[in-house]
Amino acid sequence: EAFLAAFQERIDAEQKIEPNDPMPEGYRKTLIRQISQHAHSEIIGMQPEGNWISRAPSLRRKAALMAKVQDEGGHGLYLYSAAETLGISREEMYDQLLSGAAKYSSIFNYPALTWADIGAIGWLVDGAAIMNQIALCRCSYGPYARAMIRICKEESFHQRQGYEILITLCNGSDEQKEMAQDALNRFWWPSLMMFGPSEGQSVHSQQSMLWKIKRFSNDDLRDKFINATVPQAEFLGLKVPDLELKWNEEKQGYDHGEIDWDEFWRVVKGDGPCNRERMRTRRRVEAEGAWVREAAHAYAQKRADRQAAARVAAE
């Protein structure tokens, strides 16, 4: 009890918690779940965009897309490392992903069907991610907060890049504009769902707030995102696919239509358009790479043995 109170005091004083600091088991578990889920999202998120590397329409865009997908892999790496500071191994987290025990952001269960989707993913999906992540830069757990700072910088770059793809399309031919509008139509609602359902009086969420793992409610972050994004859509000359969307002078923000939470839960539970495909791909990659990892391990072992033998011989 005294420990919990002291811990809360540190949190309240905005002190960062570091790996070797004592922490409540619930705090550790919540963080492991959240950080590993975030890492998994980066890894699975490589798939929809990776799907367009071979078909990117110009060399510049191809290079940028490759670099972006690579950055996502890099973010996965930092985040797995951050989670490892809490006493879980990357392998264990990976197993949880492959077995379906761990989740990843359900946005990546939507397909990237056209080149405009690559723009929309950057603009909307990375945009929504950044809203969440900016808040996390001030998370009470030091390694996570620091990973977030680095990731946020790169994500902002990706978001601008995605928006710039759409600017190009919207300045282009009719087909290109149509492609851009179609991408917005398909990615708008799933992007709003990325913030998660309204939390109401969820105990879980309140505890996260108290521990300063989470600093804003889902609805607040979603509203912020909408308020930032609607003018960007207008600038592009695109129509946000929400008939009920309108400016509310009083709250100085937008009111929006009802989100289809049935769809959200369906996709979370595994019945989105690409859930099975994403997991099948990930499992196949794991299986096909097994011999390589075994070989690397065997070689490292042999090498260590040889060095040990050489040391013995030298003595």
């Binding site: 890894i43 490589m46 798939q47 990776g50 590397i53 071979s54 078909r55 990117a56 329409p57 110009s58 060399l59 510049r60 865009r61 191809k62 290079a63 490759m66 670099a67 997908v69 690579q70 892999g73 890099g74 996965g76 790496l77 797995y80 080149w115 793809i165 190009t168 399309l169 300045n171 282009g172 031919s173 087909e175 290109q176 791909t281 990659v285 096909e288 790479g289 097994a290 011999w291 390589v292 990892r293 075994e294 070989a295 690397a296 065997a298 070689y299 042999k302």
Partner: protein, 252 residues
């Protein structure tokens, strides 16, 4: 004019090598055996595509008909692609990809080093940048060659198969045909024949460390420099060119 035509073709061959190889490596992005290797392969692919862009841009300028890097990269028919056959070979398993990249890197290291001495300033400048990059490609792939060759029985066997499958495409890299000879005579091309021994030395040394042997090559396949490819290239192009073909003349 004749000089420019030769230079244009010479640049296109190099550019196509880099583009097609980066396209192949890009197939690994998100699918490599480890996360670290995913980043490493993509790094190499990014270096290659960067080199391709410089080369295409320069080729377009030399040609002087207003074709930019994308028009050159995306809108030629299959028979006009002049890459060596080795770069279009399928990724196969990771052993094949590593051997392919290792063979090529062991060639590109001395190639770019010699190209740094080119009379052509632009080529020399491209070479200076590329030299640094391919040194890493060679180091990285050589490490894998050793790891896989001297890893498990399975990985060793896969390496043996990859070496046997790919060795027949290495000869083409060193051939000085009429274009190459003209480029050498023009003071801007590299005498690749002269790099053969160095390549062999590098390769044999690394393979030795990996408990592997360089297979006897026998007849070396060629044709890519004249646009006569393997059946793989057509399939690569159908993806590579898709957007530019489906929506000609647009800006992306």
């Amino acid at each position: 004019m004749a000089k420019d035509n030769t230079l244009f073709t010479y640049l296109l061959r190099l550019a196509d090598d880099h583009l097609i190889l980066s396209q192949r490596l890009g197939e690994w992005t998100g699918r490599a055996p480890t996360l670290e290797e995913d980043l490493a392969l993509t790094n190499i692919a990014l270096d290659l595509i960067g080199q391709a862009r410089s080369l295409y841009s320069y080729a377009g300028a030399v040609e002087g008909q207003g074709r930019d890097e994308d028009q050159l990269a995306f809108t030629r028919p299959e028979r006009d692609y002049l890459n060596a056959l080795i770069v279009e070979q399928p990724n196969g398993d990771f052993a094949h990809t590593i051997v392919r990249q290792f063979f090529i890197a062991a060639f590109m290291v001395p190639f770019w080093r010699e190209m740094e001495k080119s009379d052509d300033e632009q080529l020399a400048a491209i070479a200076a940048k590329a030299s640094k990059e391919v040194a890493y490609h060679l180091r990285h792939t050589a490490e894998w060659v050793v790891r896989l060759g001297d890893g498990t029985e399975e990985s060793h066997q896969r390496m043996v198969e990859a070496l046997e499958g790919l060795i027949i495409y290495t000869g083409e890299l060193f051939e000085n045909d009429a274009i190459a000879k003209a480029a050498i005579a023009g003071g801007y091309g590299v005498d690749t024949e002269a790099l053969r021994d160095e390549w062999r030395q590098t390769v044999v040394q690394v393979l030795g460390e990996a408990t592997l042997e360089l297979p006897n090559a026998g007849y070396m396949q060629k044709g890519g420099r004249d646009g006569v490819h393997t059946e793989h290239l057509g399939h690569i192009l159908s993806e590579l060119q898709y957007m530019q073909r489906a929506y000609p003349g647009l800006t992306w």
